[in-house]
Symmetry: C2
Subunit: 180 residues, 2 copies
Amino acid sequence: MARSSQTELAVLGGLSVGPMTGYALRQAIRDVLGHFWRESFGQIYPTLSNLERQGLVTRLGAGRSAPYALTDAGLGRLRGLLAQPVQHLPQRNGLMLRLFFGRQLGAATCRQLVLDARGEAERELVQFVVIRDEIESEVKTEADHPYWLLTISAGEHSARATIAWANQTLVALDRIEGST
Amino acid sequence: MARSSQTELAVLGGLSVGPMTGYALRQAIRDVLGHFWRESFGQIYPTLSNLERQGLVTRLGAGRSAPYALTDAGLGRLRGLLAQPVQHLPQRNGLMLRLFFGRQLGAATCRQLVLDARGEAERELVQFVVIRDEIESEVKTEADHPYWLLTISAGEHSARATIAWANQTLVALDRIEGST
DNA sequence: TGTCTCATGTAATCCGTTACATGATTGG
DNA sequence: CCAATCATGTAACGGATTACATGAGACA
């Protein structure tokens, strides 16, 4: 699966929920998929043009703000892409890199980094509750909702793991600091 | 902090542990930092040449297999880079993207994806124990070790969180499957 | 009228992987 | 002497961000 298909997948998937403009699509990806996905305008618009040329999406009506919608062919392509093996992204974690070379950085600075990471995880956790409530309280319960909640749950598990690790790590850093 | 500095950081950091050839550096990054970092030859060699031109690293001896070593200036630069704010990488999680659009994929296929993810997390967990033992049993206990263990601990927390999430998710998928 | 948000696009640039090319060294 | 590993590099390509450019519509 070529890398480009990853963006195609996100775009087609977004439109499978409902017709949208490119602008709204980008907002939806940022707001709803933001915890595990991101796309920029520079990717979304060329991809949409591309998909339109292939007949996988079409614009509902004319004019600048006409939303894009999936065609039948587009839905087929989406299902094909979803069935492709998951691509393992090159993960790069700047925090871990700094901690690994933490001796050069000093225990005190490492502490601050870990505190920051814990704070961010705590804020995320709050966000997840908000999103979960939004999904569960939507008037029209979409068939997609149960799946969406699975990804929220993953975010919650991940955030809680980060917080637990951070607390342990702060203790460990105290020991390191004390022994120098 | 430019993106390129991220590779510089990893290279300088690697050499802060000890002199190495580019080849060995790549292996070390793959084997030791592999859980949260990756570099390819195409990045490492140009970066090393670059750093040598700037006098931040130097080769010990002549010849093809002469290892690179940090200079004093290089160590300074490393400390400077480490102190820069952590760069938030564009995270893209293909598994989550598929689950989010899981209705199009079908609950059974989603199940398999989650099973695969759990299996991988379990294998990682075993790996972490092996690495932890290696670090703790090294004859010469390096001052870096306590910091290395912090990153192993993060990996363990993350893997355990993935396993717990997967188990919950498998139950949830059964419910979804049952209700269709 | 002016400003904010909506909406679309493009060009420059950077980063990173992959594939290719080359040759030295080591061990069987 | 042959194969595998060590060791270094480069060129092509693709993907992604960023900044720039443009303009419509809403509303105050």
